[in-house]
Structure formats: C-alpha cells, structure tokens
C-alpha cells in the first residue's frame, strides 16, 4: 500500500468530519508519513481504519450524522458549485415551465359578426342559420397583452367548422377598432401591446356533418402562436358566443381546407 492509498483510506474512515478538520488531520498525517524513516512499513501504524479510529478516540472526535454533518463534510467549493448547478437547473426548469405556459394573446374587444347574425333567443350571444355556400364573415381583434413578442401562425382550419375560405388580417397593428385595410393572412411577429384584426371571409361549408334541427356554438377561437421554440394555441374567448343552427342539416364535405 502506498502513502496515498493509506491517506485515502484514512480520509474515507473520517468522512463524517467537517472538511476543514479532515484536511488538517490528513495534512498532519501526510507530513508524518513523509518524516518516517526510510524502510518503515505503513502497517506499523496499523490499518488506515485503525489509525482513523485511534485518532478519533484520542482527539475526542465523535462520529457525526445527519444532514448538517453531511454538508459540512463536503468541500465548501464543491458545495458552492453543486448549489450553483442546482440553482441553474432549477432556473432552467422554471424557465422551460414558464415558456411552456406563456400565453399573451388576448381578445381585444372588437368583433365583426356575420351580417345575418341575430341575438340568440333565451341565451347569450348571437345566432346564425347555416346556409351552405352563402357568404360568411367573422372577425375578432386580438392583442399581445404580454411583455414579449410572439409569432402568430394563424387559426387552425380543424377548429373552424362550418366555414371555408380565407383568413385575413389587418395590415396595421394599431388599436383602432374601425374598418382597416386587410391583407391575406401570413404569420407575423406580434409586439407587446400591438393589435390585429383576424377575419374569416368565405362561405358556410359542411366541414363536419350535422343533423337537421341541431346547433353548435363557437365559444372561443383558437389562435396558433410560437414563442421561442414552443408552438401553442391561445383560445380567445368570444365576447359573445356564436351559435350555428342547422334547420336543414349539413352532410360532411370531403377535402375542405378553409384556413391556414
């Protein structure tokens, strides 16, 4: 066994002691081992475990247990490094969770109802009668209520049943509620505090089959957006729910693709 092996085993046997105290004891032992006359066998000192036990007994060093002892036995530099790494991991996890839940797009107060919409009888919102192929136009204003820019990707077609056509958007991002120049939708970066009209312009379509005399209500419009690496959907609650009624039913169409 080499001196280093001996020191390592004594160190292991004193592992519960505070790091500074252990370092002092091992420093003294190292100096002692180097002063031993040439040819001295380390076994004359006893096994490293016996040496550690004698040292502990003579110095009155009790065995320490518990979390505090565990922490004090660690090298302070390593403790700080471990703490810093754990803090960084915690921050990273927190950041990922926050980014994953970040949803700043909100309804901005403006709604453009279909021309044939009428107040619903006996319930909140507006109602329209589904007439396949007839013009349909519906719009809302959205606002970025957060502190960071997000990229708006559109309204998923799968969530806008009974409509086929284009998705349009206002050209400017001011908070004006009046009619504004429109352009075909394309993904855009939405700065904090900015507004946009999103307008569905096309016609009624049987994207999903409905029976005669049934009805369905849009309560929220989904807006897809991207923030950093995450793509999410913001469900924008409508100021007034929009109820479609189907007096004549609606057989499902095939291959319709209404909006981006």
């Amino acid at each position: 066994m080499t001196s280093e092996d001996y020191l390592r085993r004594v160190d292991a046997a004193l592992r519960d002691l505070p790091w500074r105290q252990r370092r002092e004891l091992l420093g003294e032992l190292r100096a002692h081992l180097e002063e031993l006359p040439g040819g001295t066998e380390l076994s004359e000192l006893g096994t490293p475990e016996e040496y550690a036990a004698d040292l502990r007994s003579a110095a009155g060093l009790e065995r320490r247990r518990g979390l505090v002892a565990f922490l004090r036995a660690r090298r302070p530099r390593n403790l700080i490094l471990t703490g810093a790494v754990l803090a960084l991991i915690g921050l990273a996890i927190g950041a990922v969770v926050w980014i994953d839940s970040y949803q700043p797009i909100a309804f901005a107060g403006g709604t453009q109802l279909p021309l044939d919409a009428k107040p619903s009888l006996g319930q909140a919102g507006e109602s329209i009668v589904f007439r396949k192929g007839r013009p349909f136009e519906y719009g809302i204003t959205i606002r970025n209520s957060g502190r960071f820019t997000v990229r708006v990707l559109g309204i998923p077609a799968s969530n806008t049943d009974f409509y086929a056509g284009r998705l349009l958007m206002s050209e400017d991002q001011s908070g004006r509620m009046d009619e504004r120049p429109l352009e075909r939708f394309h993904p855009f970066d939405m700065r904090p505090g900015s507004f946009r009209w999103l307008l569905l312009r096309g016609g009624y379509a049987c994207t999903t089959g409905m029976g005669k005399g049934t009805g369905v209500t849009w309560g929220a419009i989904p807006v897809r957006f991207r923030f950093l690496w995450r793509t999410g959907t913001a469900w924008i609650p409508l100021e007034e729910p929009l109820t479609f009624s189907f007096p004549n039913g609606c057989p499902p169409a095939t291959g319709s693709s209404p909006t981006p």
């Binding site: 004891l25 190292r30 100096a31 002063e35 040496y51 004698d54 040292l55 007994s57 003579a58 060093l61």
Partner: protein
Amino acid sequence: MEQAQLLKGVLELAVLAVIARRETYGYEILSTLEQAGLDGVGDASVYGTLRRLEQAGHLTSRLEASDSGPARKYYAVTPVGREQLRTGTEAWTRIGDALERLIEP
C-alpha cells in the same frame, strides 16, 4: 494489563511534559516518548491527543517550512497548559505513591 492501555490515561500528561521542555513537532514528540520508554503509544493516539490539547487551549501551534518535506507544525504549551501539566503531575505523583504503597509487600 498492557502498557498501551495504561498509557492512554496519562498520554496527555506525557505529551504536555515533552512540549513543556521546548517547542517541538509531532514526529519529534513521538520519538521522545519512545526514547523515554513509552513505545506502546500509537502514532494516531499522539496526534489525536495533540489535537485535543490544542482545542482545549493547552497548546498553541505554528507551521514552519521544513527542508526535508512538508511544513512542520510546531507546538508550544500555553499558560493554561502549564497549569494543567502542574496539576496533572501532582495527581500522577499521588497515584504513583499510592500504587507503590499498595504493590510493595
């Protein structure tokens, strides 16, 4: 009874006595004890005793660079240590005298 067991009780006094002669370091203390006939004391026991005496304020220490290896830790007896040595010596003398009277036929 083995000498090592007997020595454990008086090792503190022996170590204080060695250091009281002059400032010295661990290996030299061990050698002095061995030369005096106390060769059953383990190295670890001496270093542990030195640590306990220093913690109790009976010894002070300082590091001094050595030509032959790592820095040596030199120990000196404090006034509290000298008082401890005096009372310990008195106690040991009383015990020794008592034992002598008991052992003698």
